[in-house]
Symmetry: C2
Subunit: 440 residues, 2 copies
C-alpha cells in the first residue's frame, strides 16, 4: 500500500505534475524513516532533478525537512535573530566576520555550519582549527549560548534536519545534487530549524563555487527567497563572484587568522567588502537600518572600532577557545612546518586565478576532504600574493604553499602554478558583488 502509493507519486512527478503538501510530507517522512526504500527515493529525486519543482512544492519540501529533526523553539531568543549562509567557495571565511559584526550591531546570531567537501572549505573546519574550540551543540544548547553571548557558531548535527541527511546521501550517489529546488530546500530547512527570522545568503558563482554560473546562482537565490517569503522569514541574497578565491588565505587556521585581521580593520579589501554587504543587507531586512548606506556606515564603525572583534573574542571564549587568540593568533593557531612559493613565469597582468584549482591544491594538502569521512589538517593551505588584475614581473611570488611534509610541495606548487593565467595587457578585476536580491 505504502509502496504502491510511493510509485504513484514517483509517476506523477515523472510526468511533471505538482505534488500536494501531504504527498511531499508522505515522501519526506517515508524516506527519513526508511519505509520508502532508497531506490524509490532515487527515482523521485531524479524525476525532481529533470522535471523541477514549483515554488509551492519547494516550500512544502523545505517545511517537511525542517520538521524532521530538532528545532530551536520559537521565541527562545529575543529578536532580531539572524543567520547567514554561503553556498560555498574557496577562501570563504565571511561567516567569521559577518557573524560577530551582526552580534556587535545588537542581533542574536545563531548559525549551524557544514564542513568542507571537495575543493570548498567549511566554517566548522575553520573554527576547529582554534585549539579547544567546541562546535558540537544541540540546537537548544546553541540557543542558550546565543542568548548569553549574542553569537553562537556550531557544527550542523545529524539531529538537525535528519531527513535532509538521508536525502543528501542518496543525491550524492545518484547525480541529483545540483538541482535548484533540492539545494534551496536543503539550505533553507536548516535555517528554519535554527529559528532565525532574518537570513542573508551569499550565493557564489564561478569556478570555485558549487552553483555554476551567474544565471544558476540567481535561480537558486530566487528559489530560496521564495521559500523565505512562503514562511514569513526575511531573506536576502548577495550574488558574489567565486571565480577567484576570496581574500588571500585558503586553509583552516590561515583563514581564521585572516578573519581576525579583517575584524581588526586590516582587510583584505574583498573580504571586508563582502562582509559589509551581507551584514548591511541583514540590518536592512531586519528593519534595524532604513538604508544600505547607513547600515554600512554603522557596520564599518563597528569593524574599525574593535567592537566586532570583541564579539568574536567573547564567542571564542564562550565556545572554549583561548582568550588570547585574537590578540596573538600566532601563539595559538597551528602552523604547517613546510612552506614553498610559486613564482611568476613571465611578466604581465594576472588575467585569471582559478578558484577551483586553488581549492583543489588546498584539499590535496589536507585542508579539505576528498571523502566525507576524511579528517582535515588545520595548519596547511595556500596564501595568495596576487589577485586578478595585479601586475607581476617574472620571478615575483604568486602564492605560498603551507604543507605538512616536503613531499607535498612539488605536486602542490606545480598544480598551483596552473591556476594562474597571465595577459600582456592590463586586466580589470571582476566585480565581487554583482547583485543584491531582497525578499521584501
Amino acid at each position: 500500500m505504502r509502496a504502491s502509493r510511493a510509485v504513484d507519486l514517483i509517476r506523477r512527478k515523472r510526468d511533471g505534475e505538482e505534488l500536494t503538501g501531504r504527498e511531499i510530507d508522505f515522501l519526506v517522512e517515508g524516506i527519513a524513516r526508511g519505509s520508502i526504500p532508497d531506490y524509490q527515493a532515487a527515482a523521485v529525486l531524479m524525476a525532481v532533478y529533470l522535471r523541477g519543482m514549483t515554488a509551492g512544492e519547494t516550500l512544502h519540501l523545505t517545511l517537511a525537512l525542517a520538521r524532521s529533526g530538532d528545532q530551536v523553539p520559537a521565541g527562545a531568543l529575543l529578536p532580531p535573530v539572524m543567520d547567514k549562509h554561503s553556498t560555498g567557495g574557496v577562501g570563504d571565511k565571511t561567516t567569521l566576520v559577518v557573524a560577530p559584526l551582526l552580534a556587535a550591531a545588537g542581533a542574536r546570531v545563531i548559525k549551524m555550519s557544514g564542513r568542507g567537501l571537495g575543493h570548498t572549505g567549511g566554517t566548522t573546519d575553520k573554527l576547529e582549527a582554534i585549539p579547544g574550540f567546541r562546535t558540537t551543540f544541540t540546537p537548544a544548547e546553541l540557543a542558550a549560548l546565543v542568548s548569553e553571548t549574542g553569537l553562537g557558531l556550531a557544527a550542523a548535527s545529524e539531529r538537525l534536519v535528519p531527513a535532509d541527511g538521508r536525502l543528501y546521501a542518496i543525491r550524492d550517489v545518484t547525480a541529483t545534487v545540483d538541482s535548484p529546488p533540492l539545494i534551496a530546500s536543503s539550505i533553507m530547512a536548516k535555517k528554519l530549524a535554527t529559528g532565525a527570522q532574518t537570513i542573508v545568503l551569499d550565493v557564489k558563482f564561478g569556478s570555485g563555487s558549487l552553483v555554476g554560473g551567474r544565471q544558476e546562482a540567481r535561480r537558486l537565490a530566487e528559489a530560496m527567497l521564495a521559500i523565505g517569503a512562503g514562511c514569513g522569514r526575511r531573506v536576502g541574497a548577495v550574488l558574489s563572484d567565486m571565480d577567484q578565491p576570496l581574500g588571500w588565505a585558503v586553509g583552516n587556521a590561515l583563514e581564521v587568522e585572516e578573519a581576525i585581521g579583517c575584524l581588526k580593520g586590516a582587510g583584505p579589501a574583498d573580504l571586508e567588502e563582502l562582509s559589509l554587504e551581507l551584514a548591511s543587507l541583514a540590518l536592512c531586512l531586519a528593519g534595524l537600518e532604513t538604508s544600505a548606506a547607513a547600515a554600512r556606515d554603522r557596520l564599518s564603525a563597528l569593524l574599525h572600532s574593535g567592537q566586532a572583534l570583541a564579539s568574536f573574542t567573547s564567542m571564542v571564549q564562550a565556545q572554549g577557545g583561548p582568550p588570547g587568540l585574537t590578540g596573538s593568533p600566532g601563539l595559538y593557531l597551528p602552523r604547517a612546518p613546510v612552506s614553498a612559493s610559486v613564482t611568476a613565469p613571465r611578466q604581465g597582468w594576472v588575467a585569471r586565478l582559478d578558484a577551483r584549482g586553488v581549492g583543489e591544491v588546498a584539499a590535496l594538502l589536507g585542508a579539505g576532504r576528498l571523502a566525507h569521512d576524511q579528517r582535515v589538517d588545520p595548519a596547511v593551505g595556500v596564501v595568495l600574493a596576487v589577485k586578478v588584475g595585479d601586475r607581476v614581473e617574472a620571478g615575483d611570488v604568486l602564492a605560498t604553499v603551507h604543507a605538512r611534509s616536503a613531499g607535498q610541495v612539488a605536486p602542490a606548487t606545480a598544480r598551483l602554478a596552473q591556476a594562474f593565467t597571465f595577459s600582456d595587457r592590463p586586466v580589470t578585476p571582476p566585480p565581487l558583488v554583482v547583485e543584491v536580491l531582497s525578499g521584501e
Copy 2:
C-alpha cells in the same frame, strides 16, 4: 571507484548524453551482479525514462541483457527459426494459432512466453490450463524439443536474461516501466537469447493493451525493428487494435479451447485474421514466400486442411499434454462450476467493448494475477457473445461469466456490464490490423 563511475554515467544520462556500448555493459553487468546498488539503478532508469535512449544505446542495452543469461547456441536449430511476440492484451491467444501454423509451414518455432499480469493474459498460463502440459525447460532443452517436433512453447525462466528480471523488478516499483527503449530492449533481448532469426511482433494499442495509443505502438515497434536491424535479425511488426478483446473467450482454458477451434478453421474471424497476418509476415520476412497474398493462401490452406492443428496436437503430446485434447477439448480442459450471463439493458448497436474492463473482470475471477506471486484459476473467465458493431435487442446475452463460486457472480457481472456502451445508430467496427511494418 565502481560507485563513482556509476554516478558519472547517471550524470551523463541525466544530461541527455549518449552512453557508449562499454558504459551500458558496465551498468547492465553491475545491476545484474548487484555491484551497482538498486538506488543507482533506479536513478539511471528514471534518467532513461525522461531523457530517452538513442537507437545505438537501445541496441547495446538489448545485447547486454541478452548476454546476461542462458542462450540457445547459434546453429542449434536448422533455419528458418522463428519467434512471435505480443505486447499483451485481453483474449490474446494468437500464439497458440500462429506457432503451429508456422511449424506446419516448415519453420522451427521456438518461443519462451511470459505470464499474465493485471488485466492481460499470458501464453504460459493458457498452456498450463492443459492437464499435464509442461512449460519448464532450459533454453537448451527447448531447442532440443523444437529440433524434434518443429515447435516448442515454454515459460520464460529466470535464467533467460536474468539482468532483465532485475531491471524489471526495479522499474516496477519506480514508475519506469512504460519507457519505449526499456520495453523494446526487454522484449528483444529475450528474442535474441532464443536464437530466432525471424521475429514477428504483435504490437497492440488501445484500452486493453499495455502500450497506450497507436502512436506509442508505432514508436515501440520502430524501436524493436531498429534493434532487429542492428543485430541482423529479420523483424516485422503488426500494429493491432486492442480496444476490444480478441475473439470471444477471455480466460485460460476457455482461450485454449477457442484456439483449437480456430486451428480447425472455425474462427473466430478476428483471431484467424490476425494469426494469418502475423504468420504471413513471418514467411515473407524469412523469404519463404515472396508476397503476402501467396503466404496467406498457403497458410489458410494449412489452417483449413488440419495441418496446423496436427502441429499443435504433436506439440501438446511432446510437452506432456493429453493426446486426445484437440479432438475433444471438453474432456480434458477444466470448466468453472458457476456461470451467469450479462444481458443488454436496451436495444442498439455495441459502440464500445472496453478490453481493459473485460480483462479486469477475468482477473478478478481468478484468470489473471493482481500480484506477481498469485496463482491463476485455469477454468474461470468471460465468453463474449457480441463485439463492437453488433446489433442487440434489450435482454440479449452480451457475455457469460464462468466463475469458481456463486459469490463471484454478482460483482463480476455488474462490472462486466459497464464494459459495454451502446449507440442508437449503426457502428462500424474498428479495423483490427492498422499497419504492418517490416524491417527489410
